[in-house]
């Protein structure tokens, strides 16, 4: 088997590393090491206290019945079996969340990508447009939520008013309608998501594509779409992968937007996984079952991320690969 050379990833250390280290560290090296540990000590303490400790604790809780006011009692896999075979709301929330993820992630990434392509062109007022596209992503989640509740208000909201007086259409109840609540939230997520940091990352990626490739393409007479599909997309595929991984991780955890706008309703239409988890742990105070739900999510995210990374070998192209 031929082992692929890895790209110079951000994980690689400074170049000084390549020197073979002596078996016993010199006094200076040992001093340097201790100082290094001292500097990263805050993170190490925090990582143990706020990440590793809680992680293990929640794993333990997930195998217990823990109603907060009493001590946890061990019940084995009961919480997990409950989730999988008894809790209908669990599957409902899984389904809503997957529906959310498979719409918001691709639409968001495609939207951000084309926004970046558009803003990368030499058009007048480019910088201003970049800021205008970016501003919605700066709106605090809750502020965006109440803002859109007002815009999509069924009777006097601006969207339905325009639909009625300009087109004579009676608009749906948007967030108050079981059919339209999810699409409404997707709209809000795209408003805040398209011009976000993701767009800036794409812009940075676009600027790193060598102009020669486009020039060569022009000589061969490729059209706009071919240029995007055969030059831009492969060249920035690492950026797409990063955004895909982060996007899926984020979308599976959607909470605040739905919690504030619809509280999961109407008729569970926007009852996402995290809402179920919150309800279980912090309203019903069933900490054991809540932890099981959390671990289920964690493992799902881990597996999805690993699958994406392994699949990425087929479609992600690292330009720096040969240099190594």
């Amino acid at each position: 088997m031929i082992r692929r050379e890895t790209s110079p990833s951000p994980l690689a250390g400074p170049q000084t590393e390549s020197r073979p280290a002596p078996r016993r560290m010199s006094l200076a090296r040992r001093r340097e090491a201790w100082q290094g540990y001292l500097f990263i000590l805050p993170w190490m303490i925090g990582f143990l206290t706020f990440v590793v400790g809680p992680l293990l604790a929640s794993l333990y809780y997930s195998f217990t019945y823990y109603p907060l006011l009493a001590d946890p009692t061990w019940i084995g896999f009961e919480n997990y079996l409950n989730a999988l075979f008894k809790d209908r709301i669990f599957w409902l929330s899984v389904q809503r969340t997957l529906l959310w993820a498979i719409t918001v992630v691709p639409l968001g990434i495609i939207g951000s990508f084309f926004a970046a392509v558009l803003l990368n062109r030499a058009i007048r007022g480019k910088t201003t447009f970049r800021v205008l596209f970016f501003l919605p992503s700066l709106t605090p989640e809750v502020a965006a939520a109440v803002l859109w509740v007002w815009i999509l208000q069924p009777d006097v909201g601006v969207v339905n008013s325009v639909l009625k007086s300009w087109f004579g259409i009676r608009g749906p109840n948007w967030l108050a309608s079981p059919d339209w609540a999810l699409p409404s939230l997707i709209l809000v997520a795209l408003w805040t998501g398209i011009g976000s940091i993701r767009m800036l990352i794409f812009l940075a990626g676009l600027q790193s594509v060598p102009q020669e490739l486009y020039d060569a393409g022009a000589v061969d007479g490729v059209n706009w779409w071919q240029k995007i599909w055969h030059i831009t997309v492969p060249m920035i595929s690492p950026t797409i992968l990063l955004n895909l991984i982060l996007g899926i991780i984020g979308s599976l955890q959607v909470f605040g937007l739905a919690f504030v706008t619809t509280a999961g309703g109407p008729a569970y239409a926007t009852y996402f996984y995290a809402l179920h988890l919150y309800q279980t742990a912090f309203r019903s105070f069933d900490m054991g079952y809540g932890s099981a739900l959390a671990w289920f999510l964690f493992v799902t995210i881990l597996v999805l991320t690993l699958i994406q990374i392994s699949l990425s070998r087929r479609w992600v192209y690292y330009a720096g690969e040969t240099k190594n």
Partner: protein
């Protein structure tokens, strides 16, 4: 097509060539105009919710609820902001948010900077592994740790205080550490070494050499830290009980829940949404230049 044609055309066809070029230029001109129009239309679409929210926040309660809605308020009711600030307690929420965000920001920047320096400039066994562990923190859903954190802080009697919101920021945030480390590594090592020869210690190097060179990354970290703390919803929702202690996002949610149809208060809610948004915009406008630079130079491209 145009280009390849003109390249293939024999040297004699100079006139025809110019004609092609003129058509080409015209088409480019029209194309640019269309692109400009498209971009402007999209920008307008992105901006409209802001405009609508500001316009609504300046209407009287009944004007805001009127059908059909008017584009602009008859007389801008600037007093709405005063009313929202006072009557709806948003002033208190704003001050609470400022307090939490301020202390979190100090903690996050200082600790992340120290840790990033440690990862970037020192050689020690296990460094790569520890750094990967640090990054893995970014991938972890908050929900796996929030339940034990809740029980822990409850055990310590710290529920309904700001400690659970502020304390964890003093131990570095994975994203900030990553960004700063990437940036520090782009600063030439020679600067450090010559300072070391001159007898400077590591802390002096950090404050005199690394810090001044890190401004764009620090600005990016500050914005991201400000936003994550200012926008935080789940943490305050879980850890704060009494309304008096609510942060601004929580307060907005609370205010939304108290609106009833008898007394239209949506205009106040819109004022509240804008009060929550303005500080972020102000911070962004000040640090905008550095922010983009910091993101781009850290090389986050995958």
């Amino acid at each position: 097509m145009q280009t390849s044609q003109s390249l293939n055309s024999p040297p004699g066809g100079k006139l025809a060539n110019q004609g092609v070029n003129r058509g080409h230029r015209l088409r480019r001109e029209i194309g640019n105009l269309l692109l400009f129009a498209l971009t402007a239309a999209l920008a307008l679409g992105f901006m409209f919710p802001f405009f609508w929210s500001i316009s609504s926040s300046l209407k009287t309660g009944f004007e805001a609820m009127a059908y059909p809605p008017t584009l602009l308020p008859k007389v801008p009711q600037w007093s709405n902001y005063v009313e929202a600030w006072n009557a709806a307690d948003l002033g208190q929420f704003f001050i609470n948010s400022l307090f939490v965000t301020g202390l979190s920001l100090v903690g996050q920047i200082t600790s992340s900077f120290l840790v990033a320096y440690g990862f970037a400039r020192f050689r020690f066994p296990g460094r790569e592994l520890l750094f990967i562990l640090c990054l893995s923190g970014m991938m972890m859903p908050v929900y796996v740790t929030i339940i034990p954190l809740f029980t822990m802080f409850r055990y310590l009697g710290l529920i309904n205080t700001y400690v659970p919101l502020i304390l964890p920021t003093y131990f570095g945030s994975a994203f900030s550490i990553f960004l700063l480390r990437q940036f520090i590594m782009s600063i030439p090592l020679d600067l450090d070494e010559s300072a070391l020869i001159d007898g400077a210690n590591r802390l002096t190097i950090l404050t005199r050499i690394i810090m001044p060179n890190c401004r764009p990354a620090l600005a990016a970290v500050a914005i991201v830290g400000f936003m994550s703390s200012w926008d935080a919803f789940l943490g305050p929702l879980i850890f704060l009980d009494s309304v008096k202690k609510y942060t601004l996002p929580l307060g907005l949610w609370f205010l939304k829940g108290t609106i009833d149809d008898a007394l239209p208060r949506d205009h106040l809610l819109m004022a509240g949404a804008m009060i929550a948004t303005f500080p972020v915009l102000i911070v962004f406008v000040f640090a905008q230049k550095y922010f983009v630079q910091g993101i781009v130079m850290s090389g986050i491209k995958g």
